[in-house]
Symmetry: D2
Subunit: 382 residues, 4 copies
């Protein structure tokens, strides 16, 4: 199964780390640490090989990929010797990166994006291309009636430059070009009724939202622990200190609000009530991609006794995200092949703010994911 992976934000940290990692894995230069689909429990002949993935993407930046790789190496996110060893392969991927097309209206822009996707698929003779959004988190868009109806949306797009936020325009273009779409960010992406209609019409699956890589990952195992022990969480407060492009953007109030909302949801849904407290995100240039999150949880036990727990998480965000991007590419490609369309709620394991009403408890999400992979072979491939 020849599978393309088209990254929106292809010159960013997560994208570049994903590409470097996939190339390193193909060349046998690293282990698949962090790749969930390499665990024995998820082994399946239905998944494309990690070495079969072919990369391309859009970005508004023109910073060369190899320069980005050097920056990541200097910051300790990827080993410097690996970047040197892969310089030829990186130059090859560089050929597949495109600027974000511009045009007079969003309908025309979508056509140009779609043309890039189809061209990529043809040139590489790919069975399918999975589009994955790893670009800068957007603010939530202004609501518009055309978001709820595909007909209205298509009529309006030809007249507007701003009807859809970029993430949704990419989803729209992807679906029109026959490509599944995954949103690794908290941006709107495919999360509009009109786009869901389009995906289903095109028989395409889509996934999201917001890769679960740090504090929220920990929350998704600690919150169930308190719940299963019938301990009452009274407060849960946290702060995330991060630099890098993502950190700089999340220092802006609107994306910050989008992100922190998606970070607290796991608590309400797992515990069944909303404890006091908020999650903050602060930009701290100097720490770069090596985020620190601190959380304090106060809880009540038998006879009302007050207790507390604290944790500090020092994770390298891009290194945590990149293997999941590869996992999502493989799983979404297999879902497409298996004929799935609409939101892939079974991928909740990967996301802070997943589709569907499934559990926010990591262990339960894992069971669902295992079932999904096990069932892949059973369905009739499209």
């Amino acid at each position: 199964m020849r599978t393309g992976v088209w990254l929106i934000g292809a010159r960013g940290s997560v994208a570049a780390t994903s590409v470097i990692g996939a190339l390193a894995l193909r060349a046998g230069l690293t282990d698949p640490t962090g790749c969930v689909t390499e665990l024995p429990e998820l082994h399946s002949p239905e998944l494309p090989g990690l070495g079969d993935l072919v990369f391309g993407g859009h970005d508004i930046s023109s910073n060369p990929l190899v320069k980005k790789a050097d920056t990541l190496a200097a910051a300790g996110v990827v080993p410097a010797w690996l970047v040197r060893a892969l310089s030829d392969e990186l130059a090859t991927v560089e050929q597949e990166l495109r600027p974000v097309p511009d045009a007079g209206n969003q309908a025309a822009m979508a056509d140009l994006i779609g043309a890039d996707l189809i061209d990529f698929q043809r040139r590489h003779d790919l069975d399918r291309v999975v589009v994955i959004n790893v670009s800068t988190t957007e603010a939530a868009p202004e609501p518009h009636p055309a978001h709820a109806d595909l007909g209205a949306l298509e009529a309006e797009l030809a007249r507007s430059q701003t009807l859809l936020p970029p993430s949704s325009l990419f989803a729209y273009a992807a679906f029109r070009a026959g490509c599944p779409y995954v949103d690794f960010t908290p941006s709107t992406g495919a999360r509009l009724p009109a786009l869901d209609q389009l995906a289903r019409r095109q028989r395409l699956p889509y996934g999201g939202h917001d890769g679960k890589t740090g504090e929220t990952l920990v929350k998704s195992v600690l919150a169930p622990m308190f719940a299963l022990r019938n301990l009452r969480v009274r407060t849960w407060s946290g702060i995330n200190l991060l630099g890098g492009g993502d950190g700089a953007n999340l220092a802006e109030p609107a994306p910050n609000a989008a992100k922190t909302a998606s970070k607290q949801r796991v608590l309400a849904e797992t515990l069944g009530y909303v404890p006091q407290g908020t999650t903050r995100i602060d930009y701290l240039e100097d720490v770069g991609d090596f985020k620190t999150a601190w959380d304090m949880v106060t809880f009540e036990g038998f006879l009302g006794v007050p207790m507390r727990m604290e944790f500090t998480w020092h994770g390298c965000d891009s290194a945590l995200a990149a293997p999941l991007v590869l996992d999502l590419a493989r799983l979404t490609a297999a879902a497409h092949r298996a004929g799935r369309s609409g939101p892939l709620s079974e991928l909740a394991f990967f996301f802070k703010d997943p589709f569907g009403s499934e559990s926010h408890a990591l262990a339960e999400q894992w069971r669902v994911l295992r079932g999904f992979v096990a069932g892949l072979g059973a369905e009739d491939p499209a």
Copy 2:
């Protein structure tokens, strides 16, 4: 179902908190926070009511229960007003506490222990009595061939004062008196082949070992998190600072060794390898029952990037343990009634070092526990 709960170490912190809590629940003076069997998912008509439990027990100490309750109140483990409100009920339980019987050999001691149990059951017209060991953690005993064979054991007991450690002598006496036995401590208890033979012959279930209330509880959700994300844990080190009777005892090398062994097991079994690091227990009189545990985990992600996590847990040990003691009494009584005999591996959710080869991941243990409770009605009651 009239159910007796016979506590070995009945004047200790865990025992007293369990009794105070059960009395408070019966009187409607508190919520069942911390009681797992009160979660809707474990609701079952097969479990005895919390208000139906009748308490008695053995202890080598003669400190009055109500004095222990005052000590716990002064330390903030239980509310002072609750102790005042329950003074009559505590005095009633006091009538059911017995000194540990002494005799010339362990066979005679077992007879006296058994007589106390049978007397308790008759006087209160109980359907059954569950014996739960919450006494001081022992050192591991000297191995002896008679531990492996019931016949040899019975022959030898009449000649010895030390063949069995106290926890195992209580298990032996309980089984002979027709009582299921649960070990909430890391002591040997029923964990000898000869005692297993006895339990099966008597058609009695038993459970253990070592209630999972703090650091190990957290480990049992964090270790699976790392495993499911295919992140490689390199080191896991921790320190537990605790006072109280348990802390003083665990400052002794032999019980300390027993305890720390049971604390690291979860890592090896969940991760499939043994990370570097140890777990320490240090006695710190001043913190009393309010234990602090600090753990540091270093791990490796994609492309070998080093990351780390730390957590601090400030829990009140007795308040975490007591509701589980009540849960175990209910569940073991129901298992007995359902005709189960031998080790109850389905209770792994509650223990650091559970019977059976089941998973050490809390979420998986929870599923097994749910299945166990759901299946209770289906079996033919004994």
Copy 3:
């Protein structure tokens, strides 16, 4: 030396804890833990005795002092038995609390405040009254030219209701009534040129700003440690989680800004440069007066090696503040007696944002304070 202590915000947590503590000390019911002036190094016959202090104050609330004391006891800030033991003494202090006077303009209000002070001093035959502001933190006031000139200020006050923020109006009234003034809050207080003119004209000393009780106290010893070791602090970020009246107020943007500014100042002044990072204050009702502060410091050592430090501080704010309020009352009374006027920069030890250009390093501030106390006897008493 009979000394009055007039508290602005006398029904608040800090004020009530100060009063309870002073009464308990006088009655021999507690130790002077937390009282700096009780250290042998600061012993001086020039300081009024802790037992000699007489309390009164203003507050906009009418919540009885004894009710506040009960609330503090329920929250664990003061022992419940102590509140019971002191109920008569608290009722006596209750007689000395006054509502904040209201009038048509601030000049008239100042007259009424001053009348309360003079009445208090006469009735108790006090040598002097120290006014200490422990009321709710205000937003920074609108600048006004009259703030810079005493003549203009006095002219304008008769026409305005808002020219001075409350803290400054109290300082003005105190100075006019011949009373030294201390601001334990970050509010403006005496920090206006016109008020400094008034204090000097009246030959009165004043002190402030913002009692240093938690995170900033720790900063004032850690920042010098990095500086003395020539280690380069790259980032210093923190978050404070607190409830109570102070927490609720600091959740408002304007007082929050006033407070966080005073919290970072110590870094810039001790290190000689401004590291990245900010200090946040978040309201968390449930933790009440038991604040948690978490700080992360990243720093650079020899050959540029990156290192880091984290700390968590769980302090009871009112219990940390109250003994300092008593210290400040004693020290300011002695300064007044010794004939000092203008800002007391020697009290920098107590404040986040002290007067004068003295060091922000705690140890240096201690030396200055010792010198101040040692010199008290030498000066000619007024």
Copy 4:
């Protein structure tokens, strides 16, 4: 002032980092971050220049210095490019490293050691050579009467192989060769009455013990903070997780005991009482030189309210130690030149377990150090 620095343990991590750092500073390739003697307050023409130091040393290992440098670079302790840039200079220092001489008795060994020192001084035409012990921490030696008397010691040395531990034999040899001696480790070194007699007879100064680089450094500012605020420290417990050669050695019971004793001393001496708790050192190979220390402090405030503080310190031990080794070389050379002999209590700022009864508070030690440096010019140079 041409100054030699002779390192005992010259192929270890601290030694190699010191040498690399000094060479880098001389070449203008790095900043003196971490070097205390480069702070403006300690500037003095009496100190030899950092670039004037000439290095040599003894070690029982024969691992080439440049190989050690590569290991340190791979571990992130020193930058790899720096090691490459300094390879010639490192090869030059390699020429000055000597195996530890062996002979039939300790008197003969001391002669050989002394010969190495004198040869080094002659060949480089050095004004003086400071001997600094940075070798593996020893167990405390068996007490022996000859330790207390120089005559007895000299008589006995000719008959014994084990009378002195290595650190003391090096001190003896250094003094006999006219060299000042500094012990950066907790080993015995010059801390024997007989050696003090020898140093004074030779008019030589000496310094020690145990460089203060991490947890104890933090303690030396936090303990005074609690003391100055009259807060009562109830418990202070800590754990140090470290790898590297030092960590491996400190995992052995005897050196571990020597080290932890020197780590708690600061508390007793600063607070005036001994709080509960201990400091542990655990070997954790994987963390290498990047030690993590965690400390928990519980304390009591006004009216007995319990509070607590925790800190985590992630420091690179060799990078923290190396600049202090350079500082000590400069300061001790200047003290020698100024005619000082006997223990240099003014260097307490650098040590966990300093000579003399001076304060353990860092700020006070700093003042003493400043006074010492300021006074250097005043004394008559020897």
